[in-house]
């Protein structure tokens, strides 16, 4: 009963709403992230917006604006560094990630009492979400979804066949930058509420889980959004019940959904693969083993 009472409170309702919105948004964006193999870039983006947040905090500006500006800078730096033939994308991302994060720490270490803010930045504090944050999430989320829907065909074609997209006369580079900015917007929107680590987890895990269950892209996106939202609600419930860190619990729920799917999913699951490998004749015995 205490659980139901807890959900009656204003802050829990706001936390739930935020979890559902962020989970759904991240799930959809995550499918694009996986198609383009950008999980590491997403991770870097989460870390690299940090100096922006610190600077904005020091200057008394909106943290959101600081993160957004710095994120855009990082998108450019990674694109420029990666364009040099001796620096591959992964190393470019690695250098940018550690450099930007250290810069943020340096800025912060010159101030007093820095450990608390940092923890909130990493793992979020979803229970202290304000109505203003909810509005930001909703507006950015709608804009991101509208962009993805409008450019769906082009973005998907670009993921599978860049040459084909260029041959059809589309501006490939512009589309790339648009997608990177969409990812940036999603990460930046999620960070104040749920932290960098959770943002990456919610983008990658539900999408990877959905890919195990279905092969059609639109179905994958719908499923990923549903899984993301579900992870948010279930994770929050568990964290309220046992007083665990909310953001981290949500990630663990998303990870458990993935692990279970990896084993039991039809066709792509480990069990199904083993059965297919052994052959239909001997399937019953091996499924029991």
């Amino acid at each position: 009963m205490s659980l139901l009472e807890a959900f009656g409170e204003g802050f829990t309702r706001r936390a739930l709403l935020e979890a559902v919105m962020v989970g759904g948004l991240c799930g959809v964006v995550g499918v694009h992230v996986l198609l383009r193999r950008l999980p590491f870039f997403t991770m870097a983006l989460g870390h690299a917006t940090f100096p922006g947040v610190v600077l904005a905090g020091l200057l008394g500006m909106s943290l959101f604006a600081g993160a957004a500006v710095f994120g855009a800078v990082v998108v450019l730096v990674v694109a420029l560094l990666g364009a040099r033939d001796r620096v591959d994308d992964t190393s470019a991302v690695g250098v940018t990630l550690s450099g930007a994060f250290a810069l943020g720490v340096l800025l912060l270490s010159a101030q007093a009492g820095f450990s608390r803010d940092l923890t909130a930045y990493l793992v979020g504090s979803i229970v202290t979400v304000q109505p203003g944050d909810l509005v930001t999430t909703a507006v950015v989320g709608l804009a991101v979804l509208a962009t993805l829907a409008a450019l769906h065909k082009e973005l998907v074609l670009g993921a599978f066949d860049r040459g084909g997209l260029a041959a059809l006369g589309y501006p490939v580079l512009v589309l790339d930058v648009v997608l990177l900015l969409v990812i940036e917007a999603t990460v930046v929107t999620s960070i104040p509420a749920v932290g960098t680590i959770l943002a990456v987890a919610l983008i990658v895990a539900p999408a990877a889980t959905a890919r195990l269950w279905t092969e059609r892209l639109r179905a994958t996106m719908a499923l990923a959004a549903a899984l993301g939202a579900t992870s948010g609600v279930v994770g929050l419930t568990i964290s309220f019940q046992w007083r665990l860190a909310a953001g981290a619990t949500i990630v663990l729920v998303a990870a458990v959904l993935f692990a279970v799917s990896l084993v039991v999913a039809p066709r792509h699951g480990l069990l199904a693969r083993r059965l297919a490998h052994v052959g239909p004749g001997s399937a019953p015995t091996s499924s029991r083993a």
Binding site: T90, G99, A207
Partner: protein
């Protein structure tokens, strides 16, 4: 600025030895990481050892053992899950990274002093390294160096030509596992002293800079070791100078990273000149 004077103080001496050893070791392993494009693996390992550290802390055991256990577990899981075609290695990495880190956060959120512990884990306490820490780091570093020396030729071959490696009878899966374990060892050796953010910088940044400046793997490795150690030294000196003489508190670990990135940018600026000279026909 004085490069030697700060290191007459014992705690600065220990910090210096720590970053010199780690810088050189991480540089050597980092070349393989950069050649194989495994920067993300390094980043993931720095996060996945966290629950091990927390559990060891809660049980009152050696943090190093906890980190080692989870480092090995991650290396094995990575090698296994990354081979699943539908998941892909980068997605598997991201999920492992975030879920293990979250496990650590959930565990530690049950204890008091939660935020302080997390900060130490991320940024280390290189200035508070004691003799025991130093011995532990040196031991793990020695093991990693021996493994690296023994398998170096095979690992380089695997990086450039996986088919030939397989054809020559080596097991590429085992070699991949060995490299992941090596990265895990570096992370474990370093994490308690210098923190996760610094570890990933020590692994990736000097090696990426060396790759800009050298063509042969041997030269690249030597240069990466040198740059890693030099960045550590310079960073400590700058941080000390700024904090003691100018009253600006600069976190030691973060200063080292910023110095390393500065060296990388310098290498990126110099590299085109070198290349142009080489293209002009190899005249001295």
């Amino acid at each position: 600025m004085n490069l030697f004077e700060p290191f007459t103080i014992p705690y600065m001496q220990r910090a210096l030895v720590e970053v010199l050893v780690l810088g050189a070791l991480a540089g050597a392993v980092g070349v393989l990481v950069v050649l194989r494009r495994l920067a993300f693996v390094g980043d993931a390992l720095t996060h996945t050892v966290f629950p091990g550290v927390v559990m060891a802390h809660l049980l009152g055991r050696s943090l190093l053992l906890g980190a080692l256990a989870f480092g090995v577990l991650t290396a094995v899981l990575l090698t296994a899950v990354g081979r699943h075609r539908r998941v892909g290695d980068d997605a598997a990495l991201a999920i492992l990274l975030t879920s293990f880190f979250s496990l650590g956060v959930v565990l530690i959120s049950r204890t008091r002093g939660f935020t302080a512990d997390l900060t130490v884990f991320l940024f280390g306490r290189v200035l508070a390294v004691d003799r025991t820490d130093l011995v532990q780091t040196l031991t793990v570093a020695a093991v990693a160096a021996i493994v690296l020396a023994a398998l170096h030729k095979e690992l380089v071959l695997r990086a450039f030509d996986p088919e030939a490696t397989a054809a020559m009878g080596y097991r590429t899966g085992t070699l991949d596992l060995a490299l992941n374990l090596l990265i895990a060892l570096v992370v474990v050796a370093a994490v308690e002293a210098v923190g996760t953010v610094l570890v990933i910088a020590l692994i990736v940044v000097p090696a990426a800079a060396a790759r800009l400046l050298a063509d042969r793997v041997g030269a690249m490795t030597a240069l990466a070791c040198l740059l890693g150690a030099a960045g550590g030294w310079l960073g400590l000196a700058v941080s000390y100078e700024a904090s003691v003489d100018h009253g600006v508190r600069l976190a030691a670990g973060a200063t080292i990273v910023v110095v390393l990135v500065g060296l990388f940018l310098l290498a990126a600026a110099v590299a085109p000149l070198r290349r142009r000279r080489a293209a002009a026909g190899g005249h001295p």
